[in-house]
C-alpha cells in the first residue's frame, strides 16, 4: 500500500515540474534544435561532417535542460516552503533529473533521426557522443548551481568550459567536447561518466546542505 502511494507521488511531482519549471526550458531547447538546420547544413553529410551540428550545437541542450534542475529553490519564497516540508527533496530532484534526461535523449534522438532521414551518416555512436556531451555540460551546470546557489554562475561555468573547447580544445584530452568532428570520439564514455558523477554529487551537495542547515 505504501509502495502504491509512493509510486502515485511521482506523477504529480513530475506534472508540477513540467508545468512550473520544465516547460520554458524545453521550449528553449526546441528552439535551439529548430535553429540548427538554419545555421548548419544537415543534408547529405558524411559521419565527420554530421558530428559538427551535433557536437557544436545540439550538445547545448544539456545546459538548457539540466542546469535549471535546482532553479525553483533559488527563489527564496519557494526555498522556505521546501525547508518547512517533512518530505526529503532528493526524490523531487531525481524526478526532475529523470524528466530532463528523458527530454534530452528524446530531443537528441529525434534530431539524429531527422538528420538520418536527410541523408546524413548518423549512427548510434554519434547519438551517444552527443548525449555524453550534453550530460557533461549539464552536470557542470548542476554542480555549479548546487555549490553556489547562483543562477548566473550555474550557466557561466558550462559556457566558459564550452568556449574553452574552441580556444584550446586539444589540450583537454578525454574531456574535449568536439572530438567526433575530428574523426575520433572514442573517449565519450569519460564525458558521460564524469557528467553523471557531477549530477550525483550536486544532488548530494543539496541534500547535505539541507540536512546541516
Amino acid at each position: 500500500m505504501e509502495n502504491a502511494n509512493a509510486s502515485l507521488q511521482v506523477w504529480p511531482i513530475a506534472k508540477s515540474n513540467l508545468r512550473h519549471n520544465f516547460a520554458p526550458h524545453f521550449l528553449l531547447a526546441l528552439v535551439l534544435l529548430l535553429l540548427t538546420p538554419v545555421l548548419f547544413g544537415v543534408a547529405n553529410l558524411d559521419r565527420t561532417a554530421s558530428a559538427v551540428p551535433l557536437e557544436v550545437f545540439v550538445s547545448l541542450t544539456g545546459i538548457i535542460l539540466l542546469t535549471p534542475v535546482f532553479q525553483p529553490e533559488q527563489n527564496p519564497e519557494i526555498e522556505e516552503v521546501v525547508q518547512a516540508q517533512f518530505v526529503s527533496s532528493v526524490p523531487v530532484y531525481l524526478i526532475r533529473i529523470a524528466c530532463s534526461l528523458a527530454a534530452l535523449t528524446l530531443l537528441i534522438g529525434g534530431f539524429a533521426a531527422f538528420m538520418r532521414s536527410s541523408g546524413c551518416a548518423v549512427d548510434m555512436g554519434l547519438v551517444w557522443g552527443t548525449v555524453s556531451n550534453a550530460v557533461f555540460l549539464g552536470g557542470l551546470g548542476m554542480a555549479a548551481a548546487a555549490a553556489t546557489c547562483n543562477t548566473a554562475v550555474s550557466y557561466m561555468v558550462p559556457m566558459v568550459y564550452y568556449a574553452l573547447n574552441f580556444a584550446g580544445g586539444g589540450k583537454l584530452g578525454v574531456f574535449y567536447l568536439f572530438s567526433m568532428m575530428s574523426g575520433s570520439g572514442s573517449a565519450k564514455g569519460w564525458l558521460f561518466g564524469v557528467g553523471a558523477a557531477l549530477i550525483a554529487v550536486s544532488v548530494l551537495v543539496k541534500w547535505l546542505a539541507r540536512k546541516y542547515r
Binding site: 547544413g41 551540428p53 543562477t151 548566473a152 550557466y155 557561466m156 559556457m159 574553452l164 574552441f166 584550446g168
Partner: protein, 439 residues
C-alpha cells in the same frame, strides 16, 4: 557611495572570479600574453616572404573554375554560411542552372557538362596544365595526371579565351547565389583563390606600414584585442550583469530598493558603470602586461606606449558595453537569466561569421571585429572607417539598452511591471482552468 558599493558587489562575486580566471586563461591558451618570441623582422632581399591573397585574375580564374567544376561533377558544393562546413547538394533544376554557368565560362555545352554528373570529374582533366591546384586553405597540391585523364585532354574543362574577369566574377556570383551563399565563389571571397608569393618590395612596404602606423606595439595590441574579444569580452560580461541584477531578487532586496530615494536612472547607470569598471580594469592591465613583453624588442624605434589603452577602450569597450547592457535589460525585463541565451547565441553566430574575416574584417554589425594577424596593417588602415562606425554603433546601442532598462526598472518600482511573473501566472491559470473543466 553607491558606485563603490555596486563595484564591491561585482568584484566580490563568484561570477567575477570565474570571469577573471577566463580572462587570464584565454590569452595564455592562445599564447598572446607573452609576445617576446614574435618579433616583427625587417625583410631582407633574397628571403622567402610567404604568400598573400591578391586580386590576380590570371590566378583566380583557373583555380576557382577548377574547384567549381569538381564540385559540379560530384554535386557537392562546400559552403560556410555561418563559418561551419555545409555541404550543399543541388536539385536537378539548379544543377542545370550551374551547368549553364559553367557552359558560359568553358564553351562546353550544358548537356556535355551534365553528362559528367556523378563521375567525380574522371575522364576530364580540370584546371591548369601543370596539375597545380589551389586548396581551400590557400596551399597548393600537385596532381599527376592518370593515363585516362591524359588521354582525355581534348575534352578538358578550361576557361574560354574570350572570358574577361568582370564576366567571370558575375558568373561566380550567380554560382554563389545558386548554392545558397557562403561559398568561396562570392565576389568578396574570390581573392582566396588568388594565392601569389609576396615580393620583397611588398614585404618591405608591409613592414614600413607596421612601423609607421602601428609603431609596432599597435600590431600586438590589435592581435591581443582580437583574441580577448572573441573568447571573453563579447560574451562573459553578460553573466556579471545577470548575476548582479538577479542578486537583489535572491536577497529579496527589490522591495527595499524600489522605495529608496535614488532615481532609477542613477541606480541603473551606476550599476552599469560598476560592471564596466570591474571588467575593464583587469582587461587594461592584461593589455599592458602582454604589450610590455615587446617593448624591449625594438631598441631605437618610436613605440606607441598608449596603444594597449587605445585598443582596450576603442576596440574592446563597445563589446563589453553591449554584452553588459543585454544582460541588464533582459534580466530586469523578465527576472530570468534569458539574457545568457540571447547573448550566447549572438556570440556563437558572430564568432563563426567572423571566421571569414580573420585578417581584418570590420563589418558594421560584427560583435567581435577580427584581425587575427600581426601583419595586414593596410587592411586596418583601409577598414578604419567601418571599424569606427561599428564600435560607435555598438556603444550607442548599449547606452540605448541601458536607458530602456531604466524605463523598465521605473515601471517595476511603480508596480506596473512584474517581469516574467505575469506570464507564469497566465500559463498556470490556463492549466488550472483546463483541470477544472475536466473535473
Amino acid at each position: 557611495m553607491l558606485f563603490f558599493r555596486e563595484l564591491k558587489k561585482v568584484v566580490f562575486s563568484v561570477a567575477f572570479a570565474i570571469f577573471a580566471v577566463a580572462l587570464v586563461a584565454m590569452p595564455v591558451s592562445q599564447d598572446v600574453l607573452d609576445f617576446s618570441d614574435r618579433k616583427i623582422e625587417q625583410p631582407q632581399p633574397g628571403q622567402d616572404y610567404g604568400v598573400q591573397n591578391k586580386e590576380a585574375p590570371e590566378v583566380i580564374m583557373p583555380a576557382a573554375l577548377d574547384t567549381l567544376a569538381r564540385a559540379f561533377c560530384q554535386n557537392s558544393y562546400v559552403t560556410y554560411p555561418i563559418g561551419f562546413y555545409k555541404n550543399v547538394k543541388l536539385d536537378s533544376a539548379k544543377q542545370r542552372e550551374m551547368a549553364d554557368i559553367l557552359s558560359a565560362l568553358t564553351g562546353l555545352s550544358a548537356e556535355e557538362l551534365l553528362a559528367l554528373n556523378g563521375q567525380d570529374g574522371q575522364g576530364y582533366a580540370i584546371g591548369t596544365d601543370d596539375g597545380l591546384s589551389v586548396q581551400q586553405d590557400g596551399g597548393f597540391s600537385v596532381t599527376m595526371p592518370s593515363d585516362a585523364q591524359a588521354g582525355a585532354q581534348a575534352g578538358r574543362i578550361s576557361l574560354k579565351e574570350s572570358v574577361d574577369y568582370a564576366f567571370f566574377k558575375d558568373c561566380m556570383e550567380r554560382a554563389d547565389r545558386l548554392v545558397g551563399g557562403g561559398s568561396d565563389y562570392a565576389p568578396e571571397k574570390l581573392a582566396r583563390f588568388g594565392v601569389v608569393p609576396l615580393t620583397y618590395e611588398e614585404a618591405a612596404a608591409q613592414y614600413e606600414r607596421t612601423k609607421q602606423t602601428d609603431h609596432f606595439t599597435g600590431a600586438y595590441a590589435r592581435l591581443f584585442s582580437d583574441y580577448l574579444l572573441v573568447g571573453v569580452l563579447s560574451v562573459l560580461p553578460v553573466f556579471l550583469s545577470v548575476a548582479l541584477c538577479l542578486r537583489d531578487k535572491r536577497a529579496r532586496m527589490n522591495g527595499l530598493l524600489y522605495t529608496r530615494r535614488a532615481s532609477s536612472a542613477r541606480l541603473i547607470f551606476t550599476r552599469y558603470a560598476a560592471v564596466l569598471t570591474a571588467v575593464m580594469l583587469p582587461t587594461i592591465l592584461l593589455f599592458y602586461l602582454s604589450n610590455l613583453s615587446v617593448w624591449g624588442l625594438y631598441p631605437g624605434e618610436a613605440l606607441d606606449y598608449l596603444a594597449p589603452l587605445k585598443y582596450a577602450l576603442g576596440w574592446g569597450l563597445p563589446s563589453v558595453m553591449i554584452s553588459s547592457a543585454v544582460g541588464m535589460f533582459f534580466t530586469e525585463l523578465t527576472d530570468t537569466p534569458i539574457a545568457v541565451a540571447i547573448q550566447g547565441l549572438w556570440w556563437f553566430v558572430d564568432i563563426n561569421l567572423g571566421l571569414t574575416e580573420m585578417q581584418g574584417g570590420y563589418s558594421l554589425f560584427r560583435l567581435s571585429p577580427r584581425h587575427n594577424s600581426l601583419r595586414h596593417t593596410q587592411n586596418f588602415i583601409d577598414g578604419f572607417g567601418s571599424l569606427a562606425a561599428n564600435r560607435i554603433l555598438f556603444a550607442a546601442l548599449a547606452l540605448l539598452l541601458v536607458a530602456a532598462t531604466v524605463l523598465v526598472y521605473e515601471q517595476k518600482r511603480r508596480g506596473r511591471l512584474d517581469g516574467y511573473g505575469k506570464c507564469k501566472r497566465f500559463f498556470a491559470g490556463l492549466a488550472h482552468r483546463k483541470e477544472q473543466s475536466a473535473a
